[in-house]
């Protein structure tokens, strides 16, 4: 047989549970704009019933926990997509800067190549004219300057990307430090059976930020998370974080080290992956093509020049200073070897009026002297390659943005705070609270009636 006191306790549990539930709602409303916050729900359950004889009486409600509503699978997808987005954003922004060197202008390499060969055609019509000869030297100088400037601009970009690598490694170290700390806080709370929702959210937020920078694998272990790079270099284990280091290599570029191992080449995703890709692959590939072009033009022109005769009837000498035999640095260092216009070897027979060698030099414009292509076609190939790499990176960036946006929408549809929902919950808990309070008033009346009854009989 149940007692009024038991009913009172039951009603009281309702008041307490509703207050708790309202606190969760309040917290949700307060965090409606907090990035990474997952909405919390009270977990209510009926208290263990009391069995008296053949009857089972409920004993009220228990607020078991406040639970954060998350979807770990979605979150890991968000992480992966964040890595891809970071990678392509970094790559696209680097290449967008690179491609400005290859936009059509009055002094891009393609224009200067045309101008140089045009000046040789002009020379061919009047091989002994000093001002026309000077025109050839000026055009050669402009061509060399254009190669120099473009190459320098690429090198400068590489240097600034190198600085970015160092900064990003710094950010990684800061975030892994935070995550290790949050790991400790989460496991402390969870070890004593408490909900660590807020810290878990903060940790997730930090992991998302980390994912934007580097490819992270998250391995859940008891109450904590272990983080490595996709290639297995340790970043965080429990409450310990492993700092990455940077060290200059022989080329003067910073390499990323994890516990003594150079992991630069294995970082393929995240902003750091994109930055390293641009610094170590994309820009050097363009430099190499520029070097091939510069060395090809210089060497072929020099060879023809040496086969001819200058205005004084002497054998021709190099027009361009010979580029390095390996070709490396040819674009950066290309320069004109002669300053005296009479030294241009236009003549093929030693007479001042012969244009045979100027014709031969001009013919290089349409000969496959650079990797099977003529100089202008090879240059337009570079323009295509740069444009294509940039357009691809931009397309990947746009695509990963879209996917990430969809995933974020999905995460938000699971974990986001809806003010409508919270308002409804508030009303719900408020009503339940009022009802429980009303029950207590009623029990109070009944108690009073019982006490009155005992006074009458007493």
């Amino acid at each position: 047989m149940s007692s009024l006191n038991a009913s009172l306790a039951s009603a009281l549990s309702g008041l307490i549970a509703d207050q708790g539930a309202l606190a969760a709602t309040t917290n949700n409303v307060a965090n409606v704009n907090t990035p990474g916050y997952s909405r919390q729900e009270p977990v209510l359950s009926a208290s263990e019933p009391v069995v008296i004889g053949s009857l089972s009486f409920g004993t009220g409600v228990t607020l078991q926990s406040i639970q954060s509503i998350t979807d770990p699978i979605l979150e890991s997808q968000v992480q992966q997509q964040t890595q891809a987005q970071g990678q392509y954003t970094a790559l696209a922004s680097a290449l967008q800067q690179t491609e400005t060197n290859f936009t059509a202008s009055s002094n891009d390499i393609g224009t200067e190549i045309s101008n140089f060969f045009d000046s040789l055609n002009q020379l061919s019509t009047d091989p002994s004219d000093l001002s026309v000869r000077q025109g050839v030297l000026t055009a050669a100088g402009n061509l060399a300057s254009s190669f120099n400037a473009t190459s320098a601009s690429l090198s400068q970009q590489q240097t600034s990307l190198d600085q970015t690598v160092v900064q990003q490694v710094g950010q990684i170290n800061q975030l892994t430090g935070q995550i290790a700390q949050l790991n400790a806080q989460v496991s402390n709370l969870q070890n004593v059976g408490e909900s660590a929702g807020t810290f878990v959210d903060q940790r997730q937020q930090a992991i998302d930020q980390l994912s934007a920078i580097v490819d992270v694998s998250v391995i859940p272990t008891d109450n904590t998370l272990t983080l490595t790079t996709a290639n297995g270099a340790a970043l965080v284990s429990g409450d310990q974080s492993f700092q990455l280091q940077t060290q200059l290599n022989s080329a003067g570029l910073h390499q990323v080290y994890s516990q003594g191992n150079n992991i630069t080449g294995s970082i393929t995703s995240g902003q750091l992956g994109g930055t390293i890709d641009a610094r170590d692959q994309q820009i050097p590939a363009i430099q190499t093509q520029l070097d091939t072009l510069a060395a090809g033009v210089a060497n072929s022109v020099n060879t023809v020049q040496q086969g001819g005769f200058d205005l004084n009837g002497d054998a021709g000498t190099d027009l361009f200073n010979p580029p390095p035999a390996s070709g490396v640095g040819a674009a950066a260092t290309l320069s004109v070897a002669i300053t005296n216009p009479s030294l241009v070897a236009a003549s093929s027979d030693g007479t001042s009026g012969s244009n045979g060698n100027a014709e031969a030099m001009y013919a290089l414009a349409s000969q496959p002297v650079i990797a099977g292509q003529n100089p202008s076609d090879y240059y337009s190939g570079i323009v295509f390659n740069v444009g294509n790499a940039t357009a691809n990176a931009q397309a990947e960036q746009t695509a990963s943005n879209l996917v990430l946006q969809q995933l974020t929408d999905q995460v938000s549809s699971v974990s986001g705070v809806s003010l409508d929902e919270e308002a409804a919950h508030m009303v719900q808990y408020q009503d339940a609270y009022s009802a429980s309070a009303q029950v207590i008033t009623t029990i109070n009346d009944m108690m009073y009636a019982a006490i009155q009854m005992s006074t009458l009989t007493g």
Binding site: L95, Q96, E99, T103, A104, G110, T111, S114, N115, F117, D118, N121, Q122, S124, T125, D126, P127, S128, D129, S347, D349, T351, S352, G353, S354, N355, E359, Y362, A363, A365, S376, D377, S380, V383, F384, N385, V386, G387, N388, T390, A391, Q394, N401, Q405, T408, D409, Q410, S412, S413, V414, G416, V417, S418, L419, D420, E421, A423, A424, M426, V427
Partner: protein, 295 residues
């Protein structure tokens, strides 16, 4: 199903996407170019680079054609003068060959032919923009000098070199004939025939043969002159071709690189409308949630 309660990130994304589209369209309209950066259309950018190179080449060919035309016209009209000087020498020779002419008259005629000889010398030493035109590739040396020891009365100091200039992707042209081929060719030498005529008039012997010789040289020169006539025709044909090529190149440039304004403006309008709609959506969203109805 629970819907995403926070539409703002999506809406803001749309706003930035629309703004980006508007910026791109506006740049296209402002520049008139659809390919402002290689990544706008890599294949077109590469084609445009080649197009620029070909255009620049065609422009240079046109300039070169102009240069050579000048020199060749000058050579051609000089050779005409040579022919008429030779005709004059022939009439003088014919006059000297008639029986009514006495030795004093012949001496006077010889002096006149000597005048023609020095006229021919100066014509053969034609210089165009600082270069001797008939000296082969020895353009800085006077081709012919008087030389009393030489049977022809002159010495050729030039060479037999010829120049060829590329004036089109599939076209090159020989630009000169050396004096040795024009004025002192063996068997039909202009200078030899004139010298023989002078000697004939002075001595009274072999005037008729000398006149024939001058006639032969003149005919020969007329044949050689055809080279310049033909070349000038080829040059003006090439000029026409190059202008056509330039027009074609500029059409190609337009096709590949010019902004399709109708299209761009329509895109721009769409993007602007879409932006406006998104902004209005944001304005609407702000005012609706249940809390406002709980009083």
């Amino acid at each position: 199903m629970r819907v995403n309660p926070d539409p703002y990130p999506d809406l803001l994304n749309d706003v930035s996407h629309n703004q980006q589209q508007i910026a791109t369209d506006e740049q296209e309209i402002a520049s008139g170019q659809s390919v402002n950066l290689p990544s706008d259309n890599p294949a077109a950018a590469a084609l445009l680079a080649q197009n620029a190179s070909q255009t620049s080449q065609a422009d240079q060919f046109e300039r070169s054609v102009g240069n050579i035309q000048g020199e060749m016209q000058s050579a051609d009209s000089t050779l005409n003068s040579v022919t008429s000087a030779l005709q004059q020498a022939i009439s003088l020779g014919v006059e000297g060959a008639t029986g009514t002419v006495n030795s004093a008259d012949r001496a006077a005629l010889a002096t006149q032919v000597q005048g023609i000889q020095s006229q021919l010398l100066s014509l053969a030493n034609l210089s165009y923009q600082g270069n001797y035109v008939f000296g082969g590739t020895a353009t800085q040396t006077v081709p012919y000098v008087l030389d009393s020891n030489s049977p022809s009365g002159v010495t050729y100091q030039g060479n037999s070199g010829v120049n060829t200039v590329t004036l089109g992707s599939q076209f090159s042209l020989q630009t000169n004939l050396p004096g040795s081929q024009l004025f002192s060719a063996s068997g039909s030498s202009v200078f030899q025939s004139i010298q023989d005529l002078i000697t004939g008039l002075q001595s009274g012997n072999g005037i008729g043969a000398a006149v024939t010789e001058v006639g032969t040289a003149s005919n020969y020169l007329d044949e050689q002159k055809v080279f310049y006539g033909n070349s000038l025709n080829q040059l003006s044909a090439q000029q026409t071709y190059l202008s056509t090529e330039t027009v074609q190149l500029s059409q190609q440039q337009n096709t590949e690189g010019a902004a399709d304004l109708t299209n761009v403006i329509s895109n721009l309008t769409t993007a602007q409308t879409s932006l406006q709609a998104t902004l209005e959506a944001i304005g609407q969203t702000a005012n609706t949630n249940l809390f406002q109805y709980l009083k």
